[in-house]
C-alpha cells in the first residue's frame, strides 16, 4: 500500500557507523542514535514509587559481592515470603528489581548463585546475540543450546554486557526483533494451542505486537526443561495462571521441595507478559512500550524513551497522551488499584502461612500421609497462585481484576488445604 512504499523509499537514518550482527556494544550503536543511547544509559537511576521503582540501599562491598549499592530486600518487606519459599534459594536473597543497567551484576552477585546455577540464567540478564552466534558458529539456536547447560561461570565468561540494542533491534533495518529462542518457541506453542500453525514471531507479528513481544522475551514465567536446561516458557496450554499450573502438572515438574512441609513446589517468576495480556490495557491494544518507553520530544523529532522504568515516575509522559485526567488524578487511580491489590495479596499470604502452619502441626500429629499429600497439593497451588501475582511487578496494575481473581483462588486453596487436614 501507499504508506509502505513511501517508507521504503526514504533512508531513515543518518549512519555514522555501520552496524552488523556482531556489533554488541551499545556505545557503538549510540553513535548513530545518540538520543536513544543517552536514555538507555539512564537505567542506572534508582528512584522508588509507592509500590515500585527501586530504592538504593548502601552495602559494604565484599570480595564475593563488590556492589556498593543494591535495592531493598523484598524478604524484609514481606516476611511471609520466607515461609512460602522455605528451602529454596529465593528465601535467602530476593530484592526489588531495578533498572536494566544492573541486570548482569545483580544476577552475578545474588546469593541465589550459591546453589550453582546453569548458563541458562544469562538468557535474560545479558546481551546474548553475539555470544550465541559465536558459540553456535553463526547459528543462534545452536549457540543457545550450547550455553544453557554450562555452569553459570563458564557461560558468563562469554557475556560482556547487560541488555544491548542488538537484543531488540535488527542492526540493518532497526526494526524490532525477537532474539530469544525461548520466546520464539513459547509463542509458537501458544499460537498452536489457539489453532495457528507454524507461527514465526519475527515474520508474523505486527509492529504493534512487537512493542510488547520484545519485553516478553524476559518478563515472563519460565523453567529449565530437562538436563539440557533448555529455557522454556510454559505456554502450550495458554498464558493464564490456570493453564500454566496445568502445564506443570502435565510435565510432572517441581522447582523445589518445601522445607517445612515436603510439598513439591512451583516458583513463579515475573509473569508480566502473561498477566498484562489478561488485562484491560492489553485488550484495548496498548503495549509495554507505550507506558514504559513513551515517546519524548527532542527538538523536531520524537524518540522512544529508552530509560525503561516505572511509568509512575513520569505520569505525564507515560499516561497522559491517552488519558486526559490530571496527573494527580491518574496517579491516584493507579495507586487505588495498587493499594487494593496489596491488601488482598497480604490476605492471601496470611492464608498460605496458616496452611503451612497447619501442615506442620498435622505432620507432628502424625496425620495420614494421603491426607497430608492432599494438603500439600493445595499448598502447591495456593503458593503458585499468590506468587504469580506477587512476582508480577506491577502490584496488580497490569490486570487488576484478574490479579484479584487469582488471589481469591489462592486464598480458597489455602483454606481448603487447612480443611482437608481435619476431617
Amino acid at each position: 500500500d501507499i504508506v509502505e512504499k513511501k517508507q521504503e523509499a526514504r533512508n531513515p537514518f543518518f549512519r555514522v557507523t555501520e552496524l552488523t550482527d556482531t556489533t554488541e556494544s551499545a556505545e557503538v550503536w549510540g553513535q548513530n542514535f545518540p538520543f536513544q543511547y543517552d536514555s538507555y544509559l539512564r537505567t542506572v537511576d534508582m528512584e522508588r514509587t509507592r509500590h515500585g521503582g527501586s530504592e538504593s540501599v548502601l552495602r559494604d562491598p565484599s570480595e564475593d559481592d563488590p556492589r556498593e549499592v543494591t535495592s531493598q530486600s523484598k524478604l524484609d518487606h514481606l516476611p511471609a515470603l520466607r515461609r512460602m519459599w522455605a528451602g529454596y534459594a529465593f528465601a535467602t536473597d530476593f530484592r526489588e528489581e531495578r533498572g536494566h543497567a544492573y541486570m548482569l551484576e545483580d544476577q552475578i552477585f545474588t546469593e541465589r548463585q550459591a546453589v550453582g546455577q546453569p548458563g541458562t540464567c544469562l538468557n535474560c540478564h545479558g546481551s546474548m546475540v553475539v555470544p550465541w552466534l559465536k558459540a553456535g558458529d553463526g547459528d543462534l539456536i545452536k549457540g543457545f543450546e550450547a550455553l544453557n547447560p554450562l555452569p553459570y561461570d563458564s557461560a558468563r565468561a562469554e557475556v560482556k554486557h547487560p541488555i544491548s540494542c542488538i537484543d531488540c533491534h535488527d542492526p540493518e533495518t532497526m526494526q524490532l526483533q525477537v532474539t530469544r529462542p525461548g520466546f520464539m518457541e513459547g509463542i509458537k506453542a501458544l499460537k498452536a494451542s489457539q489453532g495457528v500453525q507454524d507461527y514465526d514471531v519475527n515474520r508474523d507479528a505486527s509492529h504493534t505486537e512487537m512493542r510488547t513481544f520484545v519485553c516478553g522475551q524476559c518478563h515472563v514465567e519460565y523453567y529449565f526443561k530437562g538436563s539440557e536446561k533448555r529455557l522454556t516458557f510454559p505456554w502450550a496450554r495458554g498464558t493464564s495462571v490456570d493453564s500454566i499450573y496445568a502445564y506443570y502438572a502435565d510435565a510432572g515438574f517441581k522447582d523445589w521441595t518445601h522445607a517445612e512441609t515436603g510439598a513439591p513446589m512451583l516458583k513463579a517468576q515475573h509473569p508480566e507478559f502473561e498477566m498484562f495480556s489478561a488485562g484491560t490495557h492489553a485488550s484495548a491494544g496498548v503495549t509495554c512500550a507505550d507506558c514504559h518507553m513513551p515517546y519524548r520530544r527532542l527538538g523536531a523529532q520524537k524518540v522512544s524513551d529508552h530509560h525503561v522504568r516505572s511509568p509512575l515516575l513520569d505520569v505525564n509522559a507515560s499516561c497522559m497522551t491517552c488519558h486526559r485526567d490530571s496527573e494527580e488524578a491518574l496517579m491516584a487511580r493507579a495507586v487505588t488499584i495498587q493499594d487494593r491489590h496489596a491488601g488482598l495479596r497480604d490476605r492471601a499470604l496470611n492464608a498460605l502461612v496458616d496452611l503451612i502452619d497447619d501442615i506442620v502441626a498435622a505432620q507432628q500429629r502424625g496425620v495420614d500421609e494421603a491426607v497430608l499429600d492432599q494438603a500439600r497439593e493445595y499448598q502447591r497451588k495456593a503458593s503458585f497462585y499468590v506468587d504469580f501475582v506477587e512476582a508480577e511487578n506491577s502490584t496488580g496494575f497490569h490486570a487488576d481484576q484478574e490479579a484479584a481473581r487469582v488471589l481469591a483462588e489462592s486464598i480458597d486453596a489455602s483454606r481448603l488445604g487447612q480443611r482437608v487436614l481435619i476431617r
Binding site: Q175, H207, Q301
Partner: protein
C-alpha cells in the same frame, strides 16, 4: 471489521421485498440529489463549515474548532488523500455517496465512526504533515503503527 457490517443499509437492501426496493430506488434518487446538492457545497470544498451542511457533523465540527488543529488543518486535510488527485476524487466520491445515502435514509448508527478506508486516509494524512517529527519512529515500522491509538483526540475530541 468489514465495512459492510457497519453500514446496515447495504445489508438491509438484500433482504427487502420488491416494494421496498422501489422505495429504495426513490431514496437513491433522493440521495443522489442530496449528494449533488451537498457535493457542490462540501465534498469538493476545503471549507470546514461546508461539511457541517449536515448537522450530524456538528459534534466533530465543534470539537475541531476547540482542538489543536483548527488553525492548521481543515476537514479535508485529514479526510481526503494527499497528493494523488484520482485517489482524492475516488475517496470523495465514495464518501459523498455513502454519507448522502445515510443522511437521506437516516440509517446510520448513533455514534459515527470512520470506515476502515477513511481511517487509513486519515492515518496517511498525519504522516503527510508530521513526517519530520515521526521520521525515526515510523520508518522502523514494518507495518503501520496507528497514530490514532495514542492521539485519538487530535482532530476533534468528541469522545470523553
Amino acid at each position: 471489521m468489514p465495512a459492510a457490517d457497519r453500514i446496515p443499509y447495504f445489508r438491509t437492501v438484500k433482504r427487502l421485498p420488491p416494494i421496498a426496493i422501489t422505495l429504495a430506488g426513490l431514496l437513491f434518487g433522493l440521495s443522489m440529489f442530496t449528494f449533488v446538492y451537498a457535493d457542490g457545497g462540501s465534498y469538493l470544498s476545503n471549507d470546514a463549515a461546508a461539511c457541517v451542511n449536515c448537522h450530524v457533523m456538528n459534534p466533530q465540527y465543534d470539537a475541531w474548532m476547540k482542538g489543536s488543529h483548527a488553525r492548521v488543518a481543515s476537514c479535508n486535510d485529514c479526510h481526503a488523500p494527499h497528493g494523488n488527485l484520482a485517489a482524492k476524487l475516488a475517496v470523495k466520491g465514495i464518501n459523498g455517496f455513502n454519507h448522502s445515502w445515510a443522511f437521506t435514509t437516516g440509517r446510520y448508527e448513533e455514534r459515527l465512526r470512520a470506515t476502515p478506508m477513511n481511517a487509513q486516509v486519515t492515518e496517511s494524512a498525519c504522516r503527510f504533515c508530521h513526517e519530520p517529527a515521526v521520521h525515526q519512529t515510523i520508518t522502523l515500522s514494518k507495518d503501520e503503527l496507528s497514530c490514532i491509538r495514542c492521539h485519538a483526540s487530535v482532530g476533534h475530541n468528541t469522545r470523553n
